[in-house]
Symmetry: D2
Subunit: 411 residues, 4 copies
């Protein structure tokens, strides 16, 4: 039960080589290195070839899966094993499940790249080639990739430039100055805007409660962000803060609880419901600033995904989770940077859809949120533990310092 | 702009009296006590009458709202102000928004109790009397209660018995022995079962990850719980742990990551999808134990509310949030005890629907969850900071110690 | 076993009245209200007289203790019970242990105020009158107050002005804008400086790691703070950041880990050790800015209390905890405001020494710290959950905005 | 400015190889692999030789330091650079500061192992060979190792057996079943006892508050632990719980706050002070069970390090931090396993003294504690996030299940 595997690339500095060898030992199998050529300098790739020695077919089967996820592929190339789905929404038992890394399948005698890469999907072979698909979107008769024998995965290589992402990734600590992170992200935002690339923001209502709503609105207004993924609560509290000057019933200016108490969010919902929609309220001149104002009036794509704990929800909220996930996926498609502010639920939801090569930054006052995001597979996320209100205002100031003409209407 | 208010009940030991006077001072108004008769012993109610002196109509209007929430009502009774809704899903601007406390409205010359009490609703006057309703369920033409002048709220009085709820409520601390709480809740569960009352559990997947799944299943099997409110993930990880012996890809017995890695939850979903549903998988003999097995095979009412971060979801998951909220509300109706285990999202969602007189216990390893639940209005919740796996097993052992004949199949 | 108690003051709006009645019920005793006169307006005090009915002497004894802590005193005044200590550092079994609230003892026919009020002390009757003393400072032969029968405690009344302390106390939440708190504290600092009152800062090394060191130094330089209580680590990391430009080995400007790695704090310690002391290093021109520079060169009283986890420690660190506590107590004496930044250990240590009428603000990114401080008795502390680096810089900016001439050397 | 380095050992599966190459890139230097021979199987070591190309002497100097910490050493061996200290407690500027990994110095033509390895020390060359020493213990005239050119560090290799330490290290998650960890640690404890090896426990007062005191006492009584490192508070609350049946004033049996309130810890201190010491109280028969009873009566070495926040402290507490650190170091010397329960301060203090090859387990309900311990250099610590009371009782039960004859007096 031996099998020979090959792996190429930046195996050493990316830390993948030890992972390969360790997984074999942990599973109780053995390896014999056949060849290893290390890149002489950091620009040259390495090449590894090894013999895997297993006790059983089951062990071989399971180890192959794991090795493939680490970028190994079998030396003796064989065509991808394809089976047809027999039921809508289900696939054969030995289906290949995807990671969020770039993936190729050996089909028709050549490696073919998988489209729409995301984690926790299956691969369907269509006329256009192999594609990632959610289990629920598989239809009876679809040709589903099974086994992992003919798959090649490209785990992300460490960014060779010494930028913030290369050295901060994986660090989660509240005890570091976040100024450096603010500066680097501001620079990234400027570059993205200049290059016409897509930045998407995921945001929770804490953005509003901590006084970061104005700064986030400014980033939309300045053309730095091209999509908003949130829940119903972000919009409700944003609109409450604009219409009634409170957030969770606390006066945003004086910090004092106000007369309407903590029920003000219901008044905001009722106001929007009276107009019929956020868009209608804007059109009628009832809503004239804030995050949702910037997003809706500038026709920036957004989705407010409803949840079980929502009041309202607002007319614009998407209450069907299948549709909400589809809309999220559509908005996030093609994004090269995603900023997540204080929303574990929507951040994990978005992280599930992102390929691992998208720059992802997650800012939260709670270190557990960042840890959880990485645990759930979005290991590319740079975690910053800070006060999100302060952070957003510092980011806005830094961004507009580089482009002051945009800053006229800061709040 | 003076107005005379009255309040009766256990104003002193419940701590309501200082709240009444402080809110007046905080809002910048003044009061003059007209009469105060304190209950001579703790069994006798107190009676308060005071003159409220305001500077403006706006202040009077806003303070009245707050005083009503604290159980005051105007001395000169007047009929409730009713306006008709002019649009589906919206109400007049000055609508009365509900708390989760028992509430009465003065209508037709008498105090009438509001049905279906919950927080963040409006009150509609129907032929059956006043009823709580969600904003979105209001129809054009409905008779909506406006202003708070003719409303009387009964904030919860401290339980006079010295039980765990009376002295632990409000405490959130990981530095207390939880043994006492386990013992008291076990006793409560036994009493509820004996009396045929309804207990509902809200649970997150951490129950499974921490090894508490077997214990929770036993509580359902033993007839101690009559409803389950959860998300898709609880069911997925429960079924994964039963079918594949792993939780998040970690072997539940050895604690070692297993060959299928963290994608095992997808295999669980695919298995269920292949059978068509959890119920079908049980019927086919493919699923023979675990939380969902106990719940589905015993026809215990449940709802799995989907969310934006779900994989799958399972066929039984409710993907529409409007329907999920309706189903949650239906299941929780009439419950006299709700136990919440490690799910902030679903706990807050459930808390929103509960009247404040339902015993609510929230167990989580993260103190912030308990704090947040109370912040969101479910101030009756008893928070216990502990390891939920250990807690559930201790609770199960304690419950079955009192009723050992039920304990045959513990796992 | 009945006894008659009296209480006067703002019993209602301070929330003390319900506490009095509830403690009686919780202990299983009963009360009968003899008289209750509520203050007609919020400026008038209330008066309560009640009969306490107990089952046993033990219950009476224990309840009396608790009632006294809530401000009740026995109607039939009797002289304080005094026993002599028979051993150095120990007192008779029934000794009275102090709270941090203002306290009086009935001696020589009149109420006498206790000096040096702090929690967890005993009361010794000296020639100057009753004084708080630590157990360990009691000497054989000292006259120690025993029992609580002749003690009168004045729990803090809610500040009647609607300032930040009156409405924020007790709130711990990261989801509120901290801008309001910054503004109010800045105003307080300005008032304290103008009035020549004493402000003391407690600070942990996170102040430096998060980039708040310059701002804190500015507050000392500006004359806004008159004492510093910290540990060895604050000074080490402050000096490291100034001498080597790093904090925990991370470059403060670029955010990148630097060549000397995380051992730079040892180099800072060695440098100071080479000069002999921080003061000598300053004198030699080796240390020219930073927190310790400002404090030492301005002769602002400070104490660096060593701990079991210290490296070094620096020559100025006080390694004996008895002496460190004495020095802390000396520095904090007479302070009317204490600001605590990210140091649970030193904040609790300081909190133990503070009378409850000192304004205390605790800023930490971790909500548990604030909760713990209150749990340990410093219930007067206003907790602010935020990023302490951002917070300090915002506070500095706000303070100097009101007094711009002081701002020249901000860093 | 080139230099040739060599490294041998399990470079690949331990993950050290990528670290070596990455640190060179991050510092802006370059490398050229001269030779790399990978171990053909996981039992064979690898061998690496590379040319380091630097731009400046400073870069070379700093990179050498870092490479040495990763186990590299210069190919052209030269004698260690030694300078004499000119002042007590200080060393020359270019001193070598230690890690907690096994270290050798090239002296007298051969590699010599450093004694008393610990982090953040310096190396003094004595007649017995090189030794780790604290900066403050260096005396004028001592021969201090400078520069890192002739140093060889052995970073810990991953344990090749697939035990809990090899796969759990580095994981910090509350969402895993801790049962596996309990079982493995129980087995380890049994093995240690059988082999006569030394286990030391670090414990905070939360052990008592959460009801784990009896279980910890049992472990001492059963001969499973040979040393206790704690603060004053652990002993105070342990003695309080035994003498008065409360912990922080809460009755351990009923969970109810008791008559003496939260001042009971003062009574415990006073009782011990009356007897003169814990030992005297035990001898007098006043203290007959609990953690301190087991430890003191069995003459198990212990140290109670005082801190700035202590009440008392107890006579046995060590109030001088220099002495406390020395006593901690003495007790921990030779330990092969250290268990840390809920005490960040004492755990970090102990971690500072431990060589990296000592098995270290840290149990705390707060994930931040475990993270911080690793951040401070004790990266070998296995973190378990759980309720420490439940954990200790489960551990005790598991330990005594394997050795039931010891279990007679569990409480």
């Amino acid at each position: 039960m031996n099998r020979r595997f090959v792996s190429d690339g930046h195996l050493v500095d990316s830390g993948i080589l030890p992972k390969i060898l360790n997984v074999i030992i942990q599973e109780g199998a053995e390896y014999r290195i056949v060849a290893f050529k290390i890149g002489q300098t950091n620009l040259q790739p390495s090449h590894l070839e090894f013999e895997l020695l297993c006790d059983s077919d089951e062990q071989l089967f399971s180890l192959t899966k794991k090795l493939v996820q680490l970028g190994c592929y079998e030396k003796t190339l064989s065509e991808g094993l394809i089976r047809r789905s027999e039921i809508d929404g289900a696939v054969p038992d030995d289906f290949y499940s995807t990671t969020n890394h770039r993936t190729e399948v050996y089909l028709d005698g050549r490696w073919q790249e998988v489209a729409n890469q995301r984690m926790d999907g299956v691969i369907v072979i269509t006329d256009r080639g192999p594609e990632c698909r959610l289990l629920r979107d598989v239809r009876k008769g679809d040709r589903v990739l099974c086994s992992s024998e003919s798959v090649r995965v490209f785990p992300p290589e460490r960014d060779r430039q010494s930028d913030i992402f290369s050295f901060m990734t994986g660090e989660v600590s509240s005890e570091r100055s976040v100024d450096v992170a603010v500066a680097e992200i501001a620079e990234d935002l400027a570059e993205h805007r200049a290059a016409g690339r897509k930045v998407v923001v995921v945001a929770g209502p804490v953005v509003v409660h901590t006084g970061g709503g104005g700064a986030l609105g400014d980033l939309f207004r300045g053309g730095y962000v091209q999509g908003l993924l949130a829940g119903n609560a972000l919009a409700v509290h944003d609109i409450e803060s604009v219409l009634l000057g409170t957030s969770l019933g606390v006066d945003m200016k004086t910090g004092r609880p106000t007369h309407e108490g903590h029920r003000n969010h219901l008044r905001a919902i009722n106001t929007v419901a009276t107009y019929g929609s956020i868009a209608a309220a804007i059109e009628a001149g009832a809503l004239t600033r804030g995050i949702m104002y910037e997003v809706v009036s500038r026709r920036i794509p957004y989705c407010l995904a409803a949840s079980i704990r929502d009041d309202g929800p607002l007319p614009e909220a998407e209450t069907d989770m299948i549709k909400a996930q589809a809309r999220y996926a559509e908005i996030v498609k093609g994004a090269t940077m995603v900023l997540m502010f204080s929303s574990m639920l929507h951040s994990i939801g978005t992280g599930n859809m992102l390929p691992s090569w998208v720059r992802t930054v997650c800012v939260d006052i709670n270190p557990a949120v960042v840890t959880k995001l990485a645990d759930r597979g979005s290991s590319q996320a740079l975690g910053i533990v800070s006060d999100v209100g302060f952070f957003l205002r510092a980011l806005r100031d830094q961004v507009f310092r580089g482009a002051p003409e945009k800053a006229e209407s800061r709040s």
